[in-house]
C-alpha cells in the first residue's frame, strides 16, 4: 500500500470525497489480510478521523445557520481591527501619557510619572492654553458660519431649476479634494507680497486715490493668522453643510409650505417655522460631525502656519504633533491629544442620546 501519509490528509478540505476514497481503500485492506497489523490499525483510525471530520463539517454548517454563531463570526474581522488598532492604541496612548516616553527611548528606560504631563500642561504651559483657546474659537466660529452659509446655499440650490447637477458638483469641490492640496493653494493666495489678495487690495487703494498700501501679513499676525485658518476651514466645510441640508430640504413636504402660505406666513416666517424645524434632524447630525472634525483638525493649520507665528495658532492636534513628532516627547504629546477626549466624548454621547430619542 506504500506510505500512509497521502491517504490521510484530514486537515485538507474536500473531506467528503476523501471519505469515499478511504472507504474504498479500507475495503481493499480488509481483503488483503496479510497486511501488517500496524497498517490496518492506522487505516481504521484514519477512517474514524475522517468520519468525525465529515460529521463535524455537517455540524459546522449547522452552527453557521445559527444567527448568534454566524453573527459573531461575521463581526470578527471588524472587531479585530477595531480592537487592535483603535481600542488598544487608545489604551496605549493613555498609558504613554502617564510616562516620560520619548522617541527612540527603549521601554525599559521609560518611567511612570503619573499625571505629571497633564499637570505640567495645565499649570505651566502657556502655548497649551493658547491651543485650547484656539481650538474652541476655531470650532465655534467655523461651525456657526458654516451653518448659516450652508443653509443659505442649500435654500438657493433648492430653488434652482436648471443646471442643478453641475452647480452642485462644482460647489462640492472644496469638500472632496484632498484638504492639504487646496490648503496649499490658500497658502499661496495669502502670500503678502506676490499674491492675489494683496495685489487686489493695493490696486483698489490706488484706484480709490487712498495712496499706497502694503497689505496685511495674513499669516504673519497671530489674530489674522487664526482668522485666515478659520476662513479656509469655512471654505472647505460649506459644501458639506449645503449638500446635507439640501438633502434635508428635499424631505420637507411641499404641503407644509402651501399651508403656511395660505395662513399668510411671510417668507421669513415660513423659513423659521417650516424649513428650520424640517431640517432639524439632519442639522444635529451635520453639526456634531462637523464639530468633531473641526475640533480635531490638523491639516489646515499644519500647512498654513505650522502653529506659528510664535506658536500662536496651534490647535490640540498640531500642538500634540509639534511636541511629539518635532520635539520627540511622545508622552507629553499623547497627553495633549488626550485633552481633546472629554470634549469629543461629550459630543458623541450627545449624538447617541439624540439618535436614540429620534428612533423612539
Amino acid at each position: 500500500m506504500g506510505s500512509l501519509e497521502p491517504r490521510c490528509p484530514v486537515a485538507r478540505g474536500k473531506i467528503g470525497r476523501m471519505e469515499e476514497k478511504v472507504q474504498r481503500d479500507a475495503g481493499e485492506e480488509v481483503a488483503h489480510a496479510s497486511l501488517p497489523p500496524s497498517v490496518e490499525e492506522s487505516a481504521a483510525s484514519c477512517l474514524a478521523t475522517i468520519r468525525t471530520a465529515a460529521w463535524s463539517r455537517q455540524r459546522a454548517i449547522g452552527l453557521l445557520e445559527r444567527p448568534d454563531v454566524l453573527g459573531y463570526l461575521l463581526m470578527l474581522p471588524a472587531a479585530f481591527i477595531i480592537f487592535s488598532f483603535i481600542a488598544y492604541p487608545f489604551g496605549w496612548g493613555v498609558w504613554m501619557s502617564l510616562t516620560n516616553k520619548e522617541v527612540g527611548m527603549s521601554w525599559s528606560r521609560v518611567s511612570f510619572i503619573g499625571l505629571w504631563n497633564y499637570v505640567h500642561l495645565w499649570t505651566t504651559d502657556g502655548v497649551f492654553w493658547n491651543a485650547v483657546r484656539n481650538s474652541f474659537l476655531y470650532t465655534g466660529i467655523a461651525t456657526a458660519v458654516k451653518w448659516v452659509l450652508g443653509i443659505w446655499l442649500a435654500v438657493l440650490l433648492n430653488r434652482m431649476v436648471r443646471f442643478q447637477r453641475i452647480i452642485r458638483a462644482a460647489i462640492l469641490l472644496p469638500w472632496i479634494i484632498p484638504t492639504v492640496l487646496s490648503t496649499i493653494a490658500f497658502l499661496w493666495i495669502f502670500d503678502p507680497d506676490f499674491s492675489v489678495i494683496n495685489w487686489t487690495l493695493r490696486r483698489f487703494y490706488t484706484w480709490m486715490g487712498w495712496g499706497y498700501v502694503k497689505g496685511p501679513l495674513w499669516l504673519g499676525d497671530p489674530t489674522l493668522a487664526l482668522m485666515s485658518v478659520t476662513f479656509v476651514n469655512i471654505w472647505r466645510g460649506i459644501p458639506f453643510y449645503a449638500i446635507a441640508f439640501l438633502a434635508g430640504l428635499q424631505t420637507i413636504e411641499p404641503d407644509l409650505y402651501e399651508a403656511a402660505a395660505i395662513d399668510g406666513a411671510s417668507g421669513w416666517q415660513r423659513f423659521w417655522h417650516v424649513t428650520l424645524p424640517g431640517i432639524k434632524p439632519i442639522t444635529v447630525v451635520v453639526i456634531v460631525f462637523s464639530i468633531i472634525v473641526t475640533f480635531s483638525d490638523f491639516q489646515i493649520v499644519y500647512v498654513l502656519t505650522r502653529g506659528g507665528p510664535a506658536n500662536s495658532t496651534h490647535l490640540f492636534a498640531t500642538y500634540a504633533y509639534q511636541i511629539a513628532m518635532v520635539g520627540t516627547r511622545l508622552g507629553l504629546g499623547a497627553a495633549v491629544s488626550l485633552f481633546m477626549f472629554p470634549v469629543l466624548a461629550l459630543v458623541i454621547v450627545y449624538q447617541l442620546v439624540y439618535l436614540r430619542k429620534e428612533h423612539r
Binding site: 453557521l64 454566524l70 453573527g71 459573531y72 461575521l74 474581522p77 471588524a78 472587531a79 479585530f80 481591527i81 477595531i82 488598532f85 483603535i86 492604541p89 487608545f90 504613554m96 516616553k101 452659509l149 438657493l156 430653488r159 431649476v161 452647480i167 452642485r168 462644482a170 462640492l172 469641490l173 472644496p174 472632496i176 479634494i177 484632498p178 484638504t179 492639504v180 492640496l181 487646496s182 496649499i184 493653494a185 499661496w188 493666495i189 507680497d193 506676490f194 499674491s195 492675489v196 495685489w199 471654505w235 459644501p239 458639506f240 447630525v285 456634531v288 480635531s296 490638523f298 499644519y302 500647512v303 500634540a320 504633533y321 513628532m325 504629546g333 499623547a334 491629544s337 481633546m340 449624538q351
Partner: protein, 308 residues
Amino acid sequence: MGTPVGEGLAKRLLVFHLPLFFFIVFTLFPFYWMFVTSIKSTHETYNRNVNPYIPVACTTAIAEQVKGFQFSGSALMENCFYHWRYLLRDTLFVQWLKNTLFIAIVSTIVSLFAGITAAYALARLKFRGVDTFGVLIFITYLVPPTLLFIPLSDLIGDMPLLHWSLLNNPWGLIVAYPTFLVPFCTWLLTGYFRTIPKELEEAAMIDGATRIQAMVRIVLPLALPGVVSAGIFAFTLSANEFLYALIFISDAANKTVPVGIVSELIKGDVFYWGELMAGALLGSIPVAVIYSFFVEHYVAGITGAVKG
C-alpha cells in the same frame, strides 16, 4: 421647487442669482488660482507689477500661434506647461501616485471585506450584543485620527508580539487606514443592507440555501451599488489621508501624493509654486471626478438618511 410665482426679476436677481453667483466664485476661485499659477513662469509669479489674474506669457504665446496659424508644441511647453513637465518628469510625483494607488486599493479591499461582513451581521442577524456592536462601530466612526496618532505611530514602529517595524513602509499605512475605513464602510453598508427586503433571503433559505449562500448570492448582488459606493469613498478617503502618511513615511520615494507635494516641493523657504499648484490640481482631479458621480450615496450615508 422652482421659483415662487409673482416675484419680480429684480428681486430674483438680488435674492437668488447674485448670492448664488458669489457662492460659486467663492468656491471655485482657488481652483482658478491654482491653474493660473501652474501655467505661469516663475519670473512672472514673482513680478509684483503684472496682473496676477492672467498668465501673460502663456496667453501671448497662444495668441501668437492662433494669429500665425501655426502650432508649436515646444513654445507651449516652455511658456505654459513648464511646471507640469517638471512635476511629471523631474520629481517623484508619478511614484507618489503609484504609492497612493497601491495603499488606497489594498486598504479599501481589506476594509470592504470587514465592512461587508460586519454590516450584514448588524443589519440582519439577531445575536446577543448586536446593539452594543452597532454603537461601538458608530463611536469608532467618530473617533478622529488625531486622537490616536501618537500611540499608533509607536505601535506601528514596533508591532506588538511581532516586533516588526512598519514605519516607512506602505504596509504601515495599510494597517492604519482600516481604523477609519472599517467603521465608515460598516456604517454606510448597514443602512444599505437594511433597505433590501428580508423576504428575498427568506425565500432562498426555504428553497434550501444556507444563510451564507443567501448572503453571497442574493443580498450582495442586490447591495452592489452600495458596496461600490462604499468602496469608492473608502478609496478616496485613504487617497486623501494626510496625518498618518506624514508621520509613518520618511523616505521621499515612499510618500503618498498629499504628503509628497507638501513636504518635497517646499524646501525650507523655497516654494516651487508652479509645481505645487500643478501637483495640487493633478492630485485632486481623479478624486473630484469619482466623487461627482457618487455624491448622492455619500450624502445619504453621512446623514443617515435612508436612500431608495
